[in-house]
Symmetry: D2
Subunit: 366 residues, 4 copies
């Protein structure tokens, strides 16, 4: 509907004078901005945007030749800046996504911050991320967490470089003024390179919790900080196999999906970031869907197409897609199927009763 | 500490070329912005700011002469724009605070939105706010809620104008792209003017819940939408009386405080906004305190001084003070004591494990 | 169905010898007792039972002439023993109901126990129950709590005797071996007789919580320990008035009901006992209902009929009705209406996913 | 202290007459029974008791020769009757423990009940328990759940008999009148013998939940119904290895312990039964401990000694020990170490705020 009001009952001049006086006092009249400020449904400035892994990786490699990793800068991470947001390194208004790169034998210094973070490894191996003193191996397909306020640093113990995806809630925390940061040792505390972290050894068996940890209140972030490629693959494969056998399990026909959870609570593994893995059978597609959560998707294997709003984008391995709030979205898998990793800000809004899901029709459910 | 790194190992020219290529791809190198993006502690752009009721009210009255209330603009509300935020009508990065004004016999149309809202009445009476069809009287000292997605409109049934404070999570919802809005009837559905709302009649007795409402999951927002001046006063007075009698109850010596809660859950009455009333004895003062939550305070009675960061501001009745995240704050009551209403975004960050409290020393507790 | 098995494939003699050997080892074969042990639906030993206030009160008065109140016996309380349970002072397998009686100027010593307790006052006044040092006036129609492990004693400050209903979870705690008990002062600590307890002054306003109490985890039992007759009456009357006005509120046509809750959590005021007040309009009746919870009902005003299973019982003021698990129950109000107080063990089983509700048809919902 | 009161102020005759009148009315005077009814600390009738696997197994085998398994009796299960409880098949006032035995090719019919159940397999294999149509292999060292109201039957597909431990909350549910029971097919629905159940395939990866299952409210009982020997062993071994490496993980020096949890909530896998596995190093011992929960322990491997109250009992593989509420308990491992499985009623009382832990000194913590 078009705005029919307020009907000015006054001379334009008096009105102009009022608005000037308001401005002088740091005041804004709602009626002049209401529709833009409180739209019928979300009108994000962020735009659907795609970044190609093939283009990100060489740029990261070039940076490695030109810039050292060290205290202050802290990380050799190159972040995606949503074109709609006009500058800041935000993939969406709440989410940070970056490619991080460590050269042979390089280490990134230890620090901690209130921001929640994860690393997802598309390819390569040889880096250990040390989370509160616990060395966690990073291998292709693994998802590693560094929950808020845990010290963490990274060390490449090989002669080959390694790159991976960093995801954080930096934009949310920055805009909300909730950021705290503290330096740790210049190099990760523990130089060990165990195949499995202590976190996995204590929390890595489904439904078996260490009694010693159960006295204290359950942690908001997961005490399990490594989710391994083999286990993720097994979980997704099982859903599709069950579908073949005629049993429930898949999210939709031909579409398997697992959510990364905190084994101590069953809730999202990170309080501000939802982490999921999706697998589409060859040729399968998802129904149109929209969510008030914003998200970033990365293709972990296979290929296909993403249709976002009116745009269609072909997807290849490693490609990163930013999806703003309430954008209509569907995926179509190529002949080799389509595997996706997704992170979103859904837990923030779910906890606050704000999260909505909808279909293309625009029907929305609360 | 000053940034010592990354040590450029390259010709400036090559580096410049890399940064240009990154910019071209919509990419940002973390190491050039890390310290600004992830500060040691919050560095809000918002500034402590004070607005005088004596100045707000006449401006609102002037607007009433020049601008009608109607569909589209929806409300005659004039909002506080924090000087640090450079324009948008945000008192803090998450909170909206405005003075709303209705002339004699005026009505504001009905609508609903995902934003949570409340009205606090400094003075006057004669308006009924109709919440999902339930007419709720607004009188001096009352706090009224319009939880997210409840239809609401306002009607002045008297021959005198009335003004009050509107508080919402508009800035949070807008920046997070969570806003949904829907028009309702052009005038509030129910023209009744009962002294007590149906909400109060069902939920207004402490610890007595209607069994009929207990089947469904407890609502995230309070089913009780009116908190009356007399009850708030009685609760605050009781804490100070108990202090006189040597019993616990006050928050600090000479400082009574009550939080507005959802009787169905005991949690904050609104999922995104914490609402509290505070009363300081004559001459009393609060210790220095800082919180990562941002807040807006309004003087409901008495006078005194607010010391925020390095600034000292005298406070009179109705004055509104915006306090950004992590600003050091203390209040000193005048000879007549100091009564304050406060709303903040604390519940959002408390739920996410991000909220921190500290003292001037800067010691922070999580 | 009739039991068709186990088919003895053996000589009776061998079987008898086996059973004897089992018994000798303290072993029991399930197949000989399964149907009794795991019935199709609850088959309580407890029976529907009614006790007349007119008969209880004189007996309590006689006891007052013959037995002093003092340390060891602790209370002059006479408890209802369900005829089906063969002796122990249990109104139902989980609930204790007793009439307690204090003569003029008498006091009952202070003690505490893990059992949760409440007092409901049918008539009279003049006794203060002191809960953790807080004197709580007891008047006709009031409900008073003494949560588990709170010290409590009672003092009659008048020249008239007073009697009331005591309700506890003694049978549950006793059978579950969860009882802890500790003596306090021989007389209640605080001899004050304030009209309102400190508990009410801090927690007595709906939706207004003392900020000082919100740091610690919310208590499982209510910090509000007095629910006053006037407020209960107002809450029930409001539901019926709203029904007259065509608005929701009542539990069923002509049937108002409020549950006593913990204002800090919205859950039941006591973790093991559900407390409710019900009001039926003159001539109204409830539909047939059954619950796996057991309950005790007391008529607080009016009269009527209770139909329990196949029995019909006329109800007068003060009469106490014990209703076992899964008994079909309905109430019919007399010409003056029927007011009831009810306490049950529902919260225990609701928390454990065991509670079921059903209708006479026997349909059960989980 | 000895009971000093009530001081009879009356002729014995009058008192006797009063007590007779009370008894006639089904009434019991508290003061005559208070100390027994509300002891200073739990005084369970149940006694510490030990049953030898070597004696149970032959009796179960004999039963198999004499009694068929079939509809009505339902199971060939022989339950432990605590000697202190005088008859009923209760290992403790809340817990059922039985040895169940299936001969070659035998099947136990399908049924469901509100009671929660589990099977722990000390030795053998070849039986599949079918839980709501999902065949679950039973092998040595495995723990299998049949949550309340899930259909379940058992089928032995081999030519060898198999025996295992059944644990349920039958005594709790029976005394609380919460039992519902329903017959299913005479033979388990699904005759399949897959190595892994569908439940494990969907929920068996730590911290990876099927998104399709996350729409509905999280189930009170675990959707994962099989906890495998290898995983339990790995979890216990990891804690002891971490202790060797100087890291946290064990419950106490030389004492590893894991709790069986619901991966959808992190809470106990069954709402009424806590399930834990413990491992003591050779020669290790636990400190004296007491809990208001009652428990049953089974030795899964190794040997040692249990000291309960004043008794000392040597423990061998398979032996079953019933431990009443508040009994002082400690374990001493033999030279081969001691592995224990434990189930208790702790979750019931923890949820209600009744659970207490203490040491031999008798100090108790709430």
């Amino acid at each position: 509907m078009t705005r029919t009001s307020p009907e000015p009952v006054a001379e334009e001049a008096e009105l102009a004078e009022l608005y000037a006086d308001l401005a002088r006092q740091g005041l804004v009249p709602l009626w002049t901005i209401r529709e833009g400020l409180m739209p019928t449904e979300p009108t994000p400035r962020a735009k659907p945007a795609l970044w190609r892994w093939d283009e990100l990786l060489p740029l990261a490699a070039r940076a490695a030749e030109l810039v050292a990793v060290g205290r202050g800068g802290e990380r050799r991470a190159i972040s995606l800046a949503n074109p709609g947001l006009g500058g800041p390194p935000y993939a969406t208004p709440t989410l940070w996504a970056a490619i991080q790169y460590l050269g042979p034998r390089e280490a990134a210094p230890s620090h901690r911050h209130s921001q929640s973070a994860f690393r997802f490894v598309l390819e390569g191996e040889g880096v250990w991320t040390v989370v509160d003193g616990d060395p966690v191996a990073m291998r292709a397909g693994d998802l590693l967490l560094t929950p808020g306020w845990c010290f963490h640093g990274h060390r490449n113990v090989t002669d080959r470089p390694m790159a991976w995806l960093d995801g954080l809630d930096i934009p949310f925390v920055a805009q909300m003024d909730q950021g705290f940061f503290e330096y740790g040792p210049a190099a990760p505390e523990d130089a060990g390179t165990p195949p499995r972290s202590r976190s996995e050894r204590l929390w890595g068996q489904a439904g078996l919790a260490p009694v010693a940890a159960l006295g204290a209140p359950a942690p908001l972030a997961s005490p399990l900080v490594a989710y391994r490629a083999e286990r993720i693959d097994e979980a997704l494969a099982a859903q599709l196999a069950l579908e073949d056998e005629g049993h429930p399990g898949v999210l939709e026909p031909g579409h398997a999906a697992v959510r990364v959870t905190n084994p101590a609570t069953g809730a999202d593994a990170l309080p501000t970031i939802r982490l999921e893995f999706h697998r589409l059978r060859p040729g399968a597609s998802t129904p149109w869907h929209r969510s008030s959560a914003s998200a970033v998707w990365q293709v972990t294997a296979g290929s296909g197409t993403a249709e976002v709003a009116s745009r269609s984008m072909t997807l290849g391995r490693g490609d990163l897609l930013a999806v703003p709030s309430w954008a209509e979205l569907r995926f179509l898998a190529g002949t080799g199927g389509l595997n996706l990793f997704c992170f979103s800000d859904a837990p923030v809004f779910e906890r606050l009763g704000l999260l909505r899901q909808g279909t293309r029709a625009g029907g929305s459910t609360r």
